[in-house]
Symmetry: C2
Subunit: 385 residues, 2 copies
């Protein structure tokens, strides 16, 4: 191990302080998890009907300040349904960062639409809105009130900003540009439960947003997600479409559209209710951990600790270090050494435009994403650290 | 209440013997459910990775005698993935009974294929294979080894027999016809876990089958399903496609196709493991209950109790009475009276060809389905009765 690697490993180890292998993120169950699960089983309602579903949805509404939360099987399903609800159709294009988890692009594929990749900014790791605006002026034209890609001829129907590692995109600026081009906004808030943009919970500024409760998230339901909205009609339709579009009736089976079996079982909602009761504690611990990393990594020439943008209060879901330009060659050495030493680290996702099935999708110049892909490394971030 | 209704209500009540409202089917948790759930939470692995997933898959394999079981979020997802794995594509037609739950047709819609409805026989409530054979001879032609609908010009790629209420379709006859027309078979075994066709578990005679562990099924995981297969390659691909098609790597994120987030969380698998340990007891109780109904309903002129076909040993998931032809007018009175008297009953599903979104789908003459739709009533079937 050279001096730099030894130094970095030592600084991380000083924060982490464990002689066991430390994963990137795992959940903490110190509240009512066991109690609610046992109660759920004893109630006999473990499946799609059950009071825990309603209780968890109410708790989510209270927490996020949203009028409606519709829980479902996972964040991918929440995104899929949101795209349908906002009218994204076969052969539409949907703008999204190239630097995101694959779920964002998969959900777009499920409706037969085409991901259209845009670049991010280093400050938030989210969509670079200024660059987007210049790009849209250049490549799009308005026809009948809708935005069209001049080159492909396809409608650009929506944009899906993703709050990377829990750090909010600058939504006010994004909404201004989206409105100007008549593009619908769906927030991929999978990673940002507990993150605030200008004192509003992420999702609050948009018609629809999708959150995730996967096992690696800030709180978990085992697997699960939710659609958040302030719109009564969208909420009603979200519930309908996630529950096989069945028309309520005492005994008859009638369905009025091709719906989905995307219900969250009450069992998972019971876990979620116990977890959300502890969310403020998780957030406090995670923000304290981020501060410790920041202190420990101070003064390093090769890298910086990634911090929330000035307009945000982030959940610091996954902490990250970013190598400075010129130090890209250190990435794989850091990954190898830290993982060997029991500190799990991980690079950011492979840019989606590089994956076989998305290689032909339209994209803008992705210089910043290309550079960040070689420089971002996630470090252990569990609330128990 | 007239004499007939009073008589029927009394006979049902004598079997059910409860002064509470008795639902159609709810689960029984008398085994290791609470223990495994608590253990799962304490293990910290509640999500998509966790030993309970592997344990439950192994238990399913042991129970069904299948080489592979790949668990997933629900039966609809299991069907969806099975259709993809057998090469069903956009604009293909997929044969299925008009008399089935909507999931069968929805899964076909998800791949952009078109349901093609066929009739059922009264003996099994499943596909009438003789009628199917005559129909296919008439409407299809073989081109390049594939079966085409002469009228629509579309390929008929697959058939999805569904084992209604747990009673197996005559699979040997169905396979003979399917092979003759080069049509792939996927079993919708959502309702038939624990049902045997000629001493083989349902699903065993086909390349792929889909089961469900929804809350109303013979055993539950809250929500969940599984793909069963004896084929190593199909099993590997099923696991891959249900887990976002990620290529295994210590830290890199690469995916080689548009996959799905269809993983069953370990939390749900833990419940499933406890349930499958009790499955033999549930089966015994349910078959005993069916026998009691049979005895209690003997000698009624207006209806018969629905029994397993002679080639099968059924799980009697949902018990059913079938009104004799000429007594259709009694259906709604029976539904009203029994439900009012605390005995939950339900008609069979609305035929899928009558639903708005499937009205234009191709279909054969559906005389038997049309008749049965007016004559089948499900009666309470929980294993605790």
């Amino acid at each position: 191990m050279n001096n730099f690697l030894e130094d970095l490993n030592g600084r991380l180890a000083s924060v982490i302080d464990s002689d066991q292998f430390v994963p990137l993120h795992n959940p903490v169950f110190e509240g009512n998890e066991e109690k609610y699960l046992v109660d759920c089983v004893r109630s006999n309602f473990v499946s799609s009907v059950g009071e825990y579903v309603t209780k968890f949805e109410t708790a989510l509404q209270d927490y996020t300040g949203m009028k409606h939360a519709v829980v479902c099987v996972n964040g991918t399903a929440a995104l899929h349904v949101s795209l349908i609800l906002l009218g994204v159709e076969v052969d539409d294009e949907v703008l999204m960062p190239a630097m995101t988890f694959i779920a964002t692009a998969n959900a777009v594929s499920y409706v037969g639409a085409i991901p259209h990749f845009v670049d991010v900014e280093e400050k938030s790791l989210g969509i670079d809105v200024d660059k987007l605006e210049v790009y849209l002026k250049e490549i799009s034209e308005m026809r009948d009130g809708a935005c069209y890609n001049k080159k492909s001829g396809r409608r650009i129907k929506a944009i899906v900003p993703m709050h990377t590692f829990g750090h909010p995109v600058d939504m006010d600026r994004l909404h201004t540009v989206a409105e100007r081009f008549s593009i619908e906004v769906i927030e991929d808030a999978a990673e940002s439960l507990g993150s605030y943009y200008k004192n509003r919970h992420t999702g609050k500024t948009s018609k629809l947003s999708a959150v995730s409760f996967n096992g690696n998230k800030i709180m978990t339901t085992g697997g699960g997600g939710a659609i958040l909205t302030d719109d009564d009609d969208l909420a009603k339709r979200a519930k309908h479409i996630t529950t096989t579009a069945k028309i309520p009736h005492k005994w008859e089976f009638n369905h009025d559209m091709v719906g989905f079996n995307y219900r969250m079982p009450a069992l998972n909602a019971a876990l979620g209710l116990a977890q959300i009761e502890r969310l403020d504690i998780f957030l406090e611990k995670k923000r304290a951990l981020a501060l410790k990393y920041k202190e420990a990594l101070k003064g390093m020439d090769e890298l910086k600790f990634f911090e929330e943008p000035e307009y945000a209060k982030s959940n610091y879901w996954l902490n990250a270090i970013i190598l400075k330009r010129g130090y890209e060659y250190l990435r794989d050495e850091i990954l190898a050494i830290t993982n060997e030493n029991g500190i799990m680290t991980r690079p950011i996702w492979t840019l989606l435009n590089k994956l076989e099935m998305f290689k032909e999708c339209p994209k803008m110049n992705l210089d910043v994403s290309e550079s960040l892909e070689k420089r971002v490394i996630n470090i252990p971030s569990s609330a128990w650290l």
